[in-house]
């Protein structure tokens, strides 16, 4: 990997606890998560891997349009999302935070319905404090800043967590919204998943800086860089940031340094721009394997129970995808739904034409 060695701990030492889960699965420092939380994280990470496998298979079968796998980033995504209380806090995803969205309350059926084109069933249910995936890089950041601002104005005790990648840090929206969040002192946690690549562009071509967390200084907020493959480090930093947000301490920037093991999405071939040795090195430090070793060593699950869990997770997903495949495809005039509260006359006329053409 071309990245600099990770300076464990923080850019701002006031915002971290020393909590680590090493590549060997051995924890050091404080143990930030309960046994139940570790098991929840482990299950979400396994489920994320299983979703990647299934969605890629379905894409090859032309049942899913395009899919961007989480592979390699599971600890960063799951460790941060677990710091939220889904009944209280908001989650604003970019486009590669599948386990975070599911953990926050997006039902698996709705999740697969979105990828499989069953749009009538793909919405975010009422009460789930989640925004849709965002395909325009960094555009979700000002939304999250505004949402956190609303929480502050309404005096609701709630935090907003927003995700983006290393590529997004070059966008104007990144700067504008972190600056705004700092000025308005809103309860926002910005999680930058630095996976070293924006499609094919490596981190060192994205910025001359060694650290994205250090940008926090310029926005008047704490910033922390953590080993994004370390579930405990990610969780501890996120938990600190969420508590600070809830206590009126304002926003935090967290950089999770990890590696995008998979392709950018199913249309991408990473062999065109990176060496296999680099990928192999990352594979040797798989974040889920770290947790698995810990779970076994701590006796949280027996080897048998672990194998059973993996089978159950895959069986559940397969059942969900089969049920979603049986759902009706949307009618052509679905495209006119939810464009306006009431369609303008001319658009209503187009809708009627579309229905007529569809029936031919």
């Amino acid at each position: 990997m071309t990245q600099q060695p990770i300076e464990a701990g923080a850019v701002d030492s006031t915002v971290t606890r020393d909590a680590r889960l090493g590549a060997d699965g051995v924890a050091s420092g404080d143990a930030p998560m309960s046994r139940e939380q570790v098991l929840e994280a482990y299950r979400l990470m396994l489920q994320s891997q299983a979703i990647d496998d299934l969605a890629i298979k379905l894409q090859r079968l032309k049942r899913v349009g395009l899919y961007a796998p989480v592979q390699g980033q599971e600890a960063a995504v799951v460790g941060s999302a677990l710091a939220l209380d889904p009944r209280r806090d908001w989650l604003v995803p970019a486009s590669r935070e599948q386990p975070a969205m599911i953990r926050h309350g997006l039902p698996l059926v709705n999740f697969f319905a979105g990828y499989m084109g069953r749009l009538d069933s793909a919405g975010i249910p009422e009460g789930v404090k989640l925004l849709p995936r965002q395909q325009a890089i960094a555009a979700q950041l000002p939304h999250a800043a505004g949402l956190a601002w609303a929480m502050k104005l309404r005096k609701e005790r709630a935090a907003v967590m927003v995700y983006c990648g290393d590529g997004a840090s070059s966008e104007g929206d990144f700067h504008e919204s972190l600056n705004l969040a700092g000025v308005m002192h809103v309860p926002l946690v910005v999680v930058v998943i630095n996976n070293q690549y924006a499609i094919s562009t490596p981190f060192h071509k994205q910025t001359a800086a060694q650290s994205l967390a250090s940008r926090a200084i310029g926005y008047g907020m704490p910033g922390i860089a953590v080993d994004g493959n370390d579930l405990f480090a990610v969780y501890a930093a996120s938990d600190d940031a969420v508590r600070r947000a809830l206590d009126g301490g304002g926003p935090t920037l967290i950089e999770c340094r990890t590696y995008r093991v998979g392709f950018h999405n199913t249309s991408d071939n990473p062999n065109d721009y990176r060496e296999q040795e680099e990928v192999s090195a990352a594979l040797a430090d798989d974040p889920t394997t770290r947790v698995e070793r810990y779970v076994l060593a701590q006796g949280l699950l027996s080897p048998g129970a672990m194998a059973q869990l993996k089978v159950e997770i895959r069986a559940e997903l397969d059942a969900v995808q089969r049920s979603v495949a049986d759902l009706p495809r949307p009618e052509a005039d679905f495209i006119f739904q939810n464009v306006y509260d009431v369609l303008p006359a001319r658009t209503e006329q187009q809708r009627a034409e579309t229905v007529k053409e569809d029936r031919r």
Partner: protein, 334 residues
């Protein structure tokens, strides 16, 4: 300081006063309404439209933001999701270039992209138009660019009464509205304002002058150019109607067709550059919907197809009364 306008009696106001009255009234009516943007709080806006609002409603509801148009609009999306009714000001419509993505692809389609979960009751106010010798980018009339991002309504009042009532409607609308304010007319056009509890829905054009030979079609400040042109045409023996579209989205196709059918001739006037301008949409619509009622081709009078010039030369760029008169004579006399 302007107090809330809650009485129904007609009152003489400038466009600026009418907009300010609507802001006072809507903030008083619904405590979720927030007014923010660059310099709108302490200063009361560079045109003083929001003067007095912060003193009256406090710094939590009326506030200055960092200088970042994209974040002002993008944060409005989040504020709306969080249950507020944001009324951000973009200091000049020409500054929306830096917020285009957050207005069009994000705000306008958020109801759709969230499958109805998050409607966007957001009203973006922005002044535009030439004739006041502003520096570069301050005059660009780019409203029609947002007709290509469905989901947002585009409201362009030309009179105090419309400014007052349509801004109230915009703020109460469950969908996003781009509310374009004609900066040249802020203080120069006055008129009676009657507050209506239940105003007409958007998408109703209005004939502001009746004539029989040709229909001049415009919105925003250009409506007043058309009215002056119509008076000059009158002395040349040509009777011109003036149709104020009032909203580009929704477009009142029926009202447009009716207004042109009654005269058989049409001239459409706008400040934006001619090519690709909304005049082309009007002309195409009339040729599709009213071809057999037309006695002559629809003529467009727009800004020139050049970058908006420095103030000293803006009259060479803008549609002028002589250009409108000449176009109308061509439509009538061939």
């Amino acid at each position: 300081m302007q107090e809330p306008q809650t009485v129904a009696a007609a009152e003489d106001m400038s466009i600026l006063e009418a907009i300010r009255a609507a802001l006072f009234a809507e903030m008083a009516r619904d405590e979720r309404v927030l007014v923010f943007g660059m310099d709108v709080g302490t200063l009361g806006g560079v045109f003083r439209v929001t003067q007095g609002l912060q003193q009256h409603f406090g710094g939590d509801r009326v506030f200055d933001t960092p200088l970042a148009e994209g974040a002002i609009v993008g944060a409005s999306v989040g504020l709306a999701i969080g249950g507020m009714i944001p009324v951000p000001e973009i200091q000049f419509l020409g500054f929306t270039y830096q917020a285009f993505h957050q207005i069009g692809p994000q705000l306008a389609r958020f109801r759709s992209r969230s499958r109805g979960r998050y409607p966007m009751p957001v009203t973006i106010r922005a002044p535009d138009g030439g004739g006041v010798r502003t520096p570069e980018f301050h005059a660009d009339a780019v409203e029609s660019q947002f007709t290509q991002t469905p989901g947002i309504k585009i409201v362009c009042p030309a009179f105090p009464d419309d400014a007052r009532n349509m801004l109230s409607m915009a703020i109460r609308d469950p969908d996003p509205v781009l509310f374009v304010e004609p900066q040249r007319l802020y203080r120069t056009v006055r008129g009676p304002v009657t507050v209506r509890d239940d105003p007409l829905p958007f998408g109703r054009a209005r004939i502001v002058r009746q004539g029989s030979d040709v229909t001049l079609i415009a919105w925003s400040a250009a409506v007043h150019l058309c009215l002056t042109a119509a008076s000059e045409l009158q002395s040349a023996g040509i009777s011109a109607s003036v149709l104020d579209l009032r909203t580009l989205v929704p477009l009142d196709v029926a009202g447009l067709v009716q207004a042109v059918t009654s005269t058989g001739r049409a001239v459409v006037v706008h400040e934006a550059p001619l090519t690709g301008g909304f005049g082309a949409e009007i002309s195409a619509t009339l040729h599709e919907e009213a071809f057999l009622s037309l006695d002559s081709p629809v003529i467009r009078v727009g800004g020139r197809d050049v970058p908006y010039p420095p103030g000293a030369l803006e009259d060479a760029f803008l549609p002028t009364v002589p250009r409108i008169v000449s176009a109308a004579r061509k439509a009538v006399e061939g």
